[in-house]
Symmetry: C2
Subunit: 318 residues, 2 copies
């Protein structure tokens, strides 16, 4: 038994997380999840990326909508609207149970790590799911009209405002969660995988936690990222728009440059094989694979490809 750590954000990351959870034994996988998207809303502590991972791995996720739970109802939200409450952030009736139970436990003094582990266990998930930190980190998107908290940017404003820069409030003093720190120190660590989540909004908050970059730099196991860019566009979400606004070419080479020094290999889409040279020019090895994950078979296949790559990759030969 060895151990694989995967860093991920929401939807895109959770797809690969599901593939990894099926390719590995439960005790072999630790998923480190972005909490920069977390926020307090309606008096509840909401952790959107953790929930997406929890729901995806437990089979409860809604596949069409891309967030929240399957077989969901919206009676709470409708009633809240009638009472004049805020309804820009949709919370399904079943989903709400997660937020209420998490909020209650956090208010009682439990850590986010402990609550996340408990929820994962209750949902029958074997893999370890841990927040990047138990301390409060909040992603802020700076726009020409001022700063927006992440969910205001992402959900309320639907990513419409132009992003000038991104910062991670609280990251300076946050500590890695115990599971995160412990996993990166393990001698049997076989790979660190950076999922094809948004590098700027979902992975950078994780990398902003003090000690993470240094720990990744020390690791001997292969560090493999999957590019979220396919054919010059992002599969989903605001990644491409954001890259353009930040003045970065929407290419896997930009992703390689972004992760330079933290990864050994960038896996890009097969059909983008012609971009391999521009990736390696960033000092990062390049591999190609079908990275578009439409079906659960796609997710498992990509996970297996990454694990094979981790087994065969020799850093010195890169």
């Amino acid at each position: 038994v060895s151990c694989v750590a995967a860093l991920c954000g929401g939807v895109g990351g959770a797809k690969l997380a599901l593939g990894l959870s099926r390719a590995l034994q439960p005790e072999e996988l630790t998923l480190i999840v972005n909490t920069g998207d977390d926020f307090e809303h309606l008096g509840l502590s909401i952790s959107p990326d953790i929930d997406t991972v929890l729901y995806t791995l437990s089979g409860l996720a809604d596949r069409e909508r891309g967030w929240g739970r399957d077989d969901e109802t919206w009676n709470f939200m409708t009633a809240l609207g009638a009472l004049g409450g805020e309804t820009w952030f949709q919370l399904g009736d079943r989903d709400l149970a997660t937020h209420v139970e998490r909020s209650r436990r956090l208010a009682a003094g439990e850590t986010l790590s402990s609550v996340t582990a408990l929820l994962a266990a209750r949902l029958g998930i074997g893999a370890r799911i841990a927040p990047m930190s138990d301390d409060r980190v909040r992603t802020i998107v700076h726009t020409p009209d001022g700063p927006l908290s992440f969910q205001h940017y992402f959900v309320r404003e639907r990513c419409a405002p132009r992003a000038v820069s991104i910062s991670f409030d609280g990251a300076d003093t946050a500590r890695m969660s115990a599971a995160f720190a412990e996993t990166l120190e393990r001698r049997d660590l076989a790979a660190v995988i950076i999922c094809p989540s948004n590098p700027y909004l979902s992975i950078d908050p994780i990398l902003a936690v003090p000690g993470v970059r240094a720990a990744l730099a020390r690791i001997r196991a292969p560090r493999i990222a999957v590019s979220p860019i396919i054919g010059g566009e992002a599969v989903k979400g605001p990644t491409a728009k954001l890259m353009r606004e930040l003045g970065v070419a929407v290419t896997s080479a930009s992703i390689a440059a972004h992760y330079r020094g933290l990864i050994d290999v960038l896996v890009i889409e097969d059909t983008d094989a012609s971009d391999a040279a521009t990736v390696t020019r960033q000092g990062v090895a390049c591999a190609t694979a079908p990275t578009l994950m439409r079906t659960d078979e796609d997710k498992l296949a990509l996970a297996r490809t990454l694990l094979d790559l981790a087994r065969t990759f020799r850093r010195d030969a890169a």
Copy 2:
């Protein structure tokens, strides 16, 4: 335009409150609601009696179940159970919106009076609905096995434990809500009505707020209570069981004795007319009327009877 104040608890009180709201102009009615049943649960501030009055007057109450909202779904509760959360206190998906919105506003520093007024307005209710106090009062039922908070006694234990005594934690230092104090001081006050709620569990907490008994004693307008006892039994709930446990005969005479000095007239059920003598022997005038409220017509009829009584009653003649 004159003004009527009605003191009430949950279901039984809300029925008469609905009748009064149909018999009077909105600005003529102030409902003072018990908050001794309030509690904090799952991180939410829950005010069961206020909600019963809100839902009843807005037509949203479930009539069969006797609590909560009509056309309700329970997906939150089911999901919470699957996560290992507490499910002994049922919270419907639509009902939950009330608790979340109230909790959010209270946490932001609003008073329960202000939140209640806002919810009433949002639900289209014209009558004024006010908590007895904005301060925390908690009904405690003392049993041979120790004290139980009200909802633990009432809902979780289904009133099964034997009640030895009842106390109202926090009542000593609670202040009457502004609406309550102001209403009892009004010169145009035409009547104070004590609804047929449980005297020990629903009305006594209101009477326990400092100043309430003195204010009621000063009032010149007729003070009229409706007996919750019909034919030696309570219409609903634990009133009769509680009276037996407290060593009180389950009669309207006991209710008259309980309210002695605070009311001028006790209205008892027509079919219990033979009990009138035992009521008047307690120093309280007695009137009879059909007090069992099955239909909305029953509620309106009883309300009109009480208002007629208030108009014609002369305290000196009693």
